[in-house]
Every structure is written in structure tokens, then in C-alpha cells.
Symmetry: C2
Subunit: 279 residues, 2 copies
Amino acid sequence: MTFETVSENKAFGGTQGVYSHASGETGTPMTFSVFVPDHADGAKLPVLWYLSGLTCTYANVTEKGEFRAACAEQGIIFVAPDTSPRGDDVPDDEAYDFGKGAGFYVDATESPWAANFRMKSYIEAELPALIAERFPAADMTRQGITGHSMGGHGALTIALRSPDRFRSVSAFAPIVSPLNCPWGEKALTGYIGADRADWRSYDACALIEDGARLPDILVDQGLADNFLEEQLKPELLEKACADAGIALTLNRREGYDHSYYFISTFMADHVRWHAERLK
Amino acid sequence: MTFETVSENKAFGGTQGVYSHASGETGTPMTFSVFVPDHADGAKLPVLWYLSGLTCTYANVTEKGEFRAACAEQGIIFVAPDTSPRGDDVPDDEAYDFGKGAGFYVDATESPWAANFRMKSYIEAELPALIAERFPAADMTRQGITGHSMGGHGALTIALRSPDRFRSVSAFAPIVSPLNCPWGEKALTGYIGADRADWRSYDACALIEDGARLPDILVDQGLADNFLEEQLKPELLEKACADAGIALTLNRREGYDHSYYFISTFMADHVRWHAERLK
């Protein structure tokens, strides 16, 4: 497997790196970032995954997320993948919410997406194996996952399908039910097909209704978020968790929008939430 | 004077705004950002200026600077101007280190720059008046100034020329002597002309040699900074301050480069340095 260091910069005592590799799942180069805090030789550190939202690459959270101070303080490795395959040979759509930048963390079954859009398998299997191989400080027995918007959907669904992999789960302004919002209906129809029964394993609320369980979940949601009512609908996750006995901490934040100004404000809270469960 | 709110986002309990106005000094629209922390009605907060480096706009530090947590904690307003006039009618140079994005915080006297490149007067007079008028929480009797690289040069020289305006001065990887580095020689020749005696009021070390004084200065400098030896030369500032009896705290930081990964790492230290002197 090819592996290339794109850049490494010292930050907050650790190393913020950007790396590229040839992905077998997507059939493309994939770029991701990893922050490794300063640590003693041979130390093993927990790993926190951050899945990004529509239109984003690894770069948005890496530049604007303000996670490094908290991760350095808590001794946590922070991994930020891309949101889709990239490249001139990858099929795309003109819309911002489908195609490149909008992988929705699914394995597509529909043409022409199925060949490259395999973000579920990429995040669930290929990239964790690469992290374990290339970052000896990463303790893959202690993983947490979070994400924003489409990436919050990714974090919740991946964790609900693999509860044994993650000790801690949170999200910023997540899409909680693709079955019940325009972004989700468009993406899952396009990637997975029209049979909505096939969507349930990609829907956090449906997964919970169908029996998936996590001990607890942290969600922050801005109340000035333009996408709150039509796309995000945290009340659906609130009901699903209440019915299932999952301890959901849902913080509704007055005045905050969908941007990285919101995410960065509450990032340190999320890192500490994960640290409490990972250490 | 026209004044336009480009955007306002809630962040860390306060408001991160971006604003545009028609500048009489530059003859162009100028865009800048202001973070105002949450505060009691009628409260007056100190103002910290941040001057950016070559190629930057207000946006680089606003997105990557990680100043908001510390400014919210300390109750400090943070103002980030652009680094030059902008627009199709403004003269430019193909190089990254001259023309647009490279105003060097001088009032140009040479053609064709003199009409628009008036960043000294813009930062020293026009923008402070606008801040005082438009941001009633800004306490203009308590100002501090910092900056990065070319903006560190700006912060040091503006403070040395107006010590009564600023209670606190710091810089990240500043150009400390344009008289003694290629960036400075190119820019000052181009903007001010070949008579090096005219440059001394735009050179922190020369200003100190010529009698300017500040009580103390904080500087952080990365030792893995590509520009350290040829352009930045902190040892020149160290000598000037030692000779003049100015208390310079010069932190040489092993492994850090010239990027915002370096700046963001030490930003909270600088905000606290200013807070101690502004409150």
C-alpha cells in the first residue's frame, strides 16, 4: 500500500500530519489528517475519529476545528478522513450534496457510484488498519468517534453498527435520520437505490429502532442552524434514544449556527467527553 | 462612511464578525474581522489588534488563529485587518512579497503605490476611529497589538511610534529589521524609495536605536521557521532591546515553523500576556 506524508507541522507540542495513500476501497488516492500529541516513547494513546460534513475534506476541521489544545491536554490522537473519493476519474454530480464531497459514509450499490463510493468500508476497515500500521502510538482498543452534520450521521451509524469498536460517541449537528430528510433521501436513493428498507442500516434512528444500542451519546446542536428543522431533526434521535434507554445528552445551543464557529466552540467539551470514556 | 456587516457568527459565547467599509486612506473597500466576547450591557473591553503576514487577509487568523477561547475567557476584543488594499484598480506585483497582500504597514511615497498603499495611516488612525464608532464595547484607552511575520513588524513599529496608544505589545516570528533582510529591502525600496534613512521609522530595531521605548515586548519564534535566518533575525531585536533596556521575552520554540500551527499553539499565551497588561 502506497503511503505518503503530505505535510507534518509541530503544533501544541505534537505533530499535525497530513497523509495520502492509495485506497483499495475507493480505487483512488485518499488524503487524511492525524494529530499525534507529544507522548512518552512506547506510549499508546486513544484514537478519536472525526467525520466531516458535506463539501468538506480533512482540511476544514484540521484548520478550523480547534481540537489540538484539548487533544494535547488529554493525550488523544485525532484522525480526520476525507468525505468521499476524489479525482477526475471519479463520477460526480453538480450538486454540493451528492457525489464528491458527499459520500454519506455508505457503500454505494448503484451505478455509477458503486465502484468508488465505498466510504463505509473505507472508514470501518481500510483506514483503521492503515492507522494501526502507520501510527504505532495509536491504541486501536480505545477508539471514539464524532463528526459534523453528514459526518455526525456517519459517526452515529458507524458506532451503532460496531458498538464494540467504540467506547465513546458524539456528534455536532448530526443528520440523525436520512430516511426523514431531503439530504438523506437524495443521497441514499442515489447511492443505495429506492428500497428504503436497505437504508435502515444507514439511519441512526432506524438502527436504534431495530435494536442497536450504545451506552451514551453526546450531541451539540445550534438553534440558529439553518438546517435544523428540515434536515437535522434532533428530536427524532431524542425520541429513539428515550424509547431505547440510551443516555443521550443533547445540548441545544442558543444562537449557534452550522459552521466551524459552532464546532470549535464545543470541540474541547467533546474531546473531554471522549477522554473520560477512553482513559 | 459606508459600513457593511459581511457576516456575524456566534462563537465561544461572543460574536465573530466580518465587516467591510470604504476606506478613505486606501481608496478601496477594506475588510476586517472583530471578535467581541460576551459582556455585560455597557461594559468596556480592551482591544487587541492582530496584524497579519504576507499574502494574508483578515481570514487566515480568523479561521486558524484559535484566539477566541482565550479572548472570551479574558474579555478581550480581537481586531484583524487586511494586509493591503485590494481590488482590480489597485496596482499589484506578481511577487507574493510586494503589492497586494504585502502592504508592510507603511504609507507609500513611490509611484504607483502612493495612492492606495497607506496601511500605516489606515491602521494607526482610520480603522481605530471606525472601531471606536461602531463597537461601543471597545475601550480605546486599553489597546494592545500583536502580529505575525510582516504583521509582527507592523505591530512592533506601530507600537514603538505610538507607545502611549498601546499598553501591551507582542509578536509571532516578526520581521524585526526591514533594513536588514531581503523582504524589507524590496518592500521599502519599492514603497518608500532608495534613501534608507527614510526607512528607519519602519524598522523596529532602528526605532529603538533612535530612542523609541516600550516597557516590555513578548516574541515567540519557531526554530524550524524557514525564514528565521535570512528574514526574521530575532537576534537583532534581542540586541537592540538589551542595549536600550527594554524587557524582551523572546521564546525560541524548538521544532515550530512559520505557519498557523505555530501561531495557534502560542496564541493563548499571547492573549494572556496582553490581558495582564490591559486589565
